[in-house]
Symmetry: C2
Subunit: 240 residues, 2 copies
């Protein structure tokens, strides 16, 4: 119903339904999160030498219900064999491809402060096909240096060149709050299409640039909410 959505038939175009289901198979963040969990379970199974697994196995390994495992997998194709299960190696390869993990990804981290530098040297950011190739900062005292793990600190003026030359897919924002929007605009202008943002606050982005925000303080507040709730309940029980 969006005005402007092209529904006009292009002469010569074959009668496909590409327009009617333009983004139908878009998986939710919750679903892709589960795919990552399945992938890890499959990696463990493979390491254990197992050839075949089942939705029940994977459910046990991930905490997801078996029916949902099957539903998630069926969403992307028919990967299993009825009565038998799923072939571990093959399924692992397919899921990795779906998640874009069939190739390596270079990462730049904008902001060579505490958090940025730690992330540059962090295992979780530099294994499984991910590699931090540079920290970006505009402090002349930092530029030209390296993190303890050896990641070079470069000027923001090198950003676009780096993205072109080294093929950077992902940027991480770990700058002060007041610089976040500018940093995002710069990495987007340099051609980066996916950004993991650790800075608090709303960011405006443009279509085609995927931003995912992790607000560490909000996670702490989610926990203090549970604590406060437990205390209130305990307190009112005691008073009653």
């Amino acid at each position: 119903m969006q005005p402007g959505r092209r529904s006009r038939a292009v002469p010569g175009a074959s009668p496909r339904r590409t327009v009617s289901l333009p983004s139908s198979d878009e998986a939710s963040d919750a679903a892709t999160h589960r795919l990552s969990l399945y992938l890890r379970a499959l990696a463990r199974s493979e390491a254990d030498g197992r050839r075949v697994t089942s939705s029940d196995d994977m459910a046990r390994a991930t905490g997801v219900k078996p029916a949902l495992v099957r539903k998630d997998l069926a969403h992307f194709g028919q990967f299993g064999i009825r009565g038998v299960g799923y072939e571990v190696r093959g399924l692992r390869t397919r899921i990795a491809a779906i998640l874009g993990l069939d190739r390596d990804h270079n990462v730049v981290i904008v902001g060579a402060g505490n958090l940025g530098t730690a992330l540059a040297d962090y295992r979780g950011f530099n294994t499984g096909g991910f590699r931090t190739i540079a920290l970006i900062d505009n402090d002349p005292k930092k530029i030209g240096g390296r993190s303890r793990g050896g990641v070079p600190v470069r000027s923001v003026r090198d950003l676009a060149g780096l993205v072109q030359k080294s093929g950077v897919d992902l940027a991480v924002l770990a700058v002060p709050a007041e610089s976040a929007q500018r940093a995002l605009d710069q990495v987007a202008a340099a051609g980066v299409r996916a950004v993991l943002n650790f800075v608090q606050g709303r960011l405006k982005t443009r279509p085609g640039v995927h931003v995912r925000s992790v607000d560490l303080k909000i996670h702490l507040e989610g926990l203090t909410y549970r604590l406060a709730r437990a205390w209130r309940r305990a307190g009112s029980r005691a008073v009653r």
Copy 2:
């Protein structure tokens, strides 16, 4: 009209509903997340000198729809005045209390590696009532030292004493994957009831101990999924 709804007057029983709604008001993680967003919007409003705000204002500031703002707030009480709006200062205080932010919270971080040390010195973990009072590690070379920001590194043997003496509410896990379960068990045994976990993998916990996990790599994978999807769509368009 519901069958089974107790309408029968029990002789002598006072007419309370305490039993019928024992944990009814448990808010989802999504809802508490929005509460944190509202709190920040209110802090900005207050800093701007505004006395009164509305669900429309807060919606604009947070990206949440106005109807949902009202629903969230109404869930915790009647905070607004019809036809007028919400009193900024008062609402801010109430939400802070709901989130347990009407008191300070001491934090210990288990694991004085890259990530743990960075978090100890990270602003987001040491403002707004949160304070990291110690890093815990079992490397003798680290124990007795301090982070760059001055947070002392202590032995795990000091953990229980620290929790008792200083009143630690929150623990952060930033240890290697193979130590995570043990670290969780130790902080729980020491009396900590809320844990923010940065380690990949499932953890077993016991009732009353709240664990929230942040898996940084899964966030990267969520982004590469979007990238892969965009490439596939672009590719199939080009091929077509």
